[in-house]
């Protein structure tokens, strides 16, 4: 019994460190902004940092906790972005207060992405490993191409849809909101750093609590041994679907922040294509699969890094790739880990001599 309590205390402490890390980072940055010590580049990066942290946490829930490889997260982000942006564009001309409109936009983004996550999850989660990765990859691309072909407008007669072009909408005046490949322009800029951090904290709270809950343990049990878990009566499909849907909803929230941070929203291969999905996966792998705090740190480091390297101009992407490989080696290669552990051990011994606990 004591052991269980001690274990719980350890988890709580670990979670608190995660929250504290984000809050301290937020306070430090706010102080720096208010004292005028921050460049425009860094100010512009603050919201993207929150967006990618949220996405990394979201994917870690699927990859780390549920143990499934999903390569379609940019697709959920895309759904969240377009759904919420459409809502904001429709309501922009009404007298609805901005705060409420953005709050509803976040909810819409999360719910729409969750709905698609649920829908995709039903057939997809019957697959395992590589097959799941391929299907989710295809899903992400389908979403991107669908959005690129979608025309949506609203006039006095209600909404109009078309997959052809804007002429086929048969609009009677009114405004065209989604213009196919030209996407949505003029989304209000509602995202800011404070909202981003608050959302990140909420997401962390949800995910960390989920992991340490009965449901979370069930999900992990299924990940570790599906047959054993099912034999004690756990419904594998249900729990996997649950984790996948929550993850999709969180990715949708990331998309909402993304859409409301830039005034123009287009589904380009760069922002919603598989490259983006893989980038999010890189955050997760580098931060440590299953390590939520690690994914936040990795997302921050890997988003800031290419911007810090701007001074190197043409060699920027080359150096970025080299640094990425080195970091991966450092965090994942067995020989590097052994080396690191030896250093840690010697540090730990010193600590013991000083009368402090190690581990």
């Amino acid at each position: 019994m004591d052991k269980v309590i001690a274990e719980k205390k350890k988890i709580t402490r670990s979670n608190l460190i995660t929250f504290a890390m984000v809050i301290i980072a937020y306070i430090v940055v706010e102080i720096m902004i208010n004292t005028g010590n921050v460049s425009s580049l860094f100010k512009g990066l603050l919201v993207p940092l929150c967006i990618y942290s949220i996405l990394a946490v979201s994917l870690n829930l699927v990859v780390g906790i549920s143990g499934e490889l999903s390569l379609g997260h940019a697709g959920f982000m895309c759904i969240g972005a377009f759904a919420s942006s459409t809502w904001s564009m429709i309501m922009k001309s009404t007298s609805m207060p901005e705060g409420l409109r953005f709050f509803i936009a976040i909810v819409i983004g999360a719910v729409t992405a969750a709905f698609f996550g649920f829908l995709i999850g039903i057939p997809v989660l019957r697959l395992k490993g590589d097959y799941l990765a391929i299907v989710t990859l295809a899903f992400g691309e389908i979403i991107k191409n669908l959005v690129n072909a979608l025309y949506f407008g609203i006039d006095a007669n209600g909404p109009h849809f078309s997959l052809e072009d804007s002429m086929h909408l048969n609009m009677d005046g009114g405004t065209i909101i989604i213009k196919g490949a030209q996407g949505i322009t003029g989304t209000p800029k509602n995202s800011n750093f404070t909202i981003g951090v608050v959302l990140l904290l909420i997401v962390l709270f949800i995910v960390l609590n989920l992991i340490n809950s009965r449901t979370g343990r069930a999900v992990m049990a299924i990940r570790d041994n599906r047959i054993a878990a099912e034999s004690v009566g756990l419904n594998a499909t249900k729990f996997k679907l649950l984790a996948f849907t929550i993850s999709a909803a969180i990715a949708g929230v990331g998309g909402v922040l993304y859409a409301h941070n830039l005034s123009s929203l287009q589904a380009l291969p760069k922002n919603f294509g598989y490259n983006q999905s893989i980038m999010i996966l890189v955050f997760v792998v580098m931060g440590g699969i299953g390590n939520i705090r690690g994914s936040v740190v990795a997302a921050v480091v890997l988003t800031v890094l290419p911007e810090l390297l701007r001074g190197l101009s043409d060699y920027r992407m080359l150096i970025y790739a080299v640094v990425l490989i080195l970091m991966m080696l450092c965090t994942s290669a067995p020989s590097w880990i052994q080396y690191r552990e030896r250093i840690m051990m010697s540090l730990g011994k010193n600590k013991k001599v000083n009368g402090k606990e190690s581990n």
Partner: protein
């Protein structure tokens, strides 16, 4: 063990943030000193401390790098030329570029990094989506920006944004008018890139205007950025529909494939392109005889014989070893437009970004400029340029005026 690791990770995060902070402190202070008087080492001019700081951005890496390179190179040629001739109002120009990877978010980062450097005027961005994202940021600083090639309508939606190229609808409409007025064909098939802002924008305007011109669009085919190597299905359908003219509103890299594949299957209508088609004759491994008879509307032809174009093309070739495409010419003109407006307003670089922006915007309302991409360019309230496209037809591997 885990605890130490977490402390380390938190430390890494703090260190990154601190690194950003410190580097940014450096650049902000650099920016402030730049406003007062340039002192940093990268200043080329020794005699005059004060310089203009003109920035440019575009995709310098990735799939669209061709266009970004052309823009920054074209602008570089103009900047060097102006500096040789004594600068703008007696002040030399410093020029800096940033990579935006053809991505909205990265474009805003690139813009911010140029702003930290002390940029006063932006000649860019290159592509449409980044231009829209940057314009909505730049309007807060009232930074004057003139995009050489951001052609989507909304690129110039803000008061501070102007452009040198045609807008997409203008090109589509003008193409339809040209085909209608010259009675080139009545049965037209269109092939366009439905995933591309530029291509779909031109197509829509073309289709709208076609009805007014008595042109029947017999077939409309699409492709996307993910599948732009095999066009045989689309071409077969266009052929079966009995098209006399094929309208191809996209870039020359894909057009080269379309022409090759159409030739193989014996589909020989009149091919009609827009300004993105410029450059097809300079493409490696492309049999230029396939482009015989290809018509295109373009404001710029690299083998024109007027002095200004010859001078630009020679300088560009000397500096970068390739023939400039229209993007480069647009950027070259953009820098000269800034020069002319700044001289008309009698501006000096010690003014703030906001003051420069207001003055240049005021000038552009009345300015008329003769450049290599058009004579007598003027700008309307919305920031769109008014200039006449030239229709050219390719004969014996060279542009010939179609008039």
């Amino acid at each position: 063990m885990k605890k130490i690791l977490s402390v380390l990770l938190a430390g890494t995060m703090a260190a990154t943030l601190a690194a950003c902070g410190s580097s940014s402190t450096g650049s902000t202070s650099a920016a402030t000193t730049a406003a007062a008087g340039e002192t940093s080492a990268n200043s080329g001019s020794a005699s005059s401390d004060l310089t203009w700081k003109i920035g440019s951005q575009g995709p310098l890496t990735g799939g669209a790098a061709l266009y970004g390179e052309a823009v920054v190179n074209g602008a570089k040629v103009a900047v060097d030329e102006i500096n040789e001739a004594g600068g703008i109002n007696g002040y030399k120009i410093e020029f800096k570029t940033a990579d935006d990877e053809h991505d909205q978010e990265k474009a805003v980062n690139a813009y911010n990094s140029l702003k930290d450097w002390g940029m006063q005027v932006l000649v860019g961005p290159t592509t449409s989506s980044p231009t829209m994202a940057v314009a909505s940021e730049a309007v807060n600083d009232n930074m004057f920006m003139i995009t050489p090639s951001g052609s989507a309508v909304d690129c110039t939606a803000t008061a501070n944004a102007y452009r040198v190229c045609f807008s997409d609808p203008a090109q589509g409409t003008k193409s339809a008018q040209y085909i209608g007025q010259h009675k080139l064909a009545t049965k037209v098939a269109v092939l366009y890139d439905s995933s591309d802002v530029y291509s779909s924008g031109i197509y829509e305007a073309f289709a709208k205007e076609a009805a007014n011109q008595g042109i029947e669009i017999v077939d409309t085919e699409q492709f996307t950025a993910d599948s732009k190597t095999d066009f045989s299905t689309q071409l077969q359908k266009m052929q079966a529909a009995g098209a006399e003219l094929a309208f191809l509103p996209f870039y020359y890299t894909e057009a080269a494939l379309v022409l090759t594949q159409a030739n193989t299957m014996g589909f020989k209508p009149i091919f009609f392109g827009v300004d993105g088609m410029d450059g097809i004759l300079g493409l490696d491994n492309f049999d230029t005889s396939l482009a015989e008879g290809l018509m295109l509307l373009t404001p710029f032809a690299a083998d024109a014989t007027d002095d200004a174009t010859v001078n630009f093309v020679t300088r560009y070739k000397d500096a970068f070893g390739s023939t400039p495409i229209q993007f480069a010419a647009d950027a070259y003109d953009a820098v000269y437009i800034v020069k002319k407006a700044a001289e008309a307003a009698n501006l000096t670089p010690d003014k703030s970004v906001d003051e420069i922006g207001t003055a240049l915007e005021e000038q552009l309302k009345t300015l008329s400029y003769d450049g290599i991409t058009g004579a007598g360019m003027t700008w309307n309230e919305g920031g769109d340029v008014d200039k006449e496209p030239k229709a050219v037809v390719i004969k014996d591997g060279a542009y010939v005026s179609a008039e």
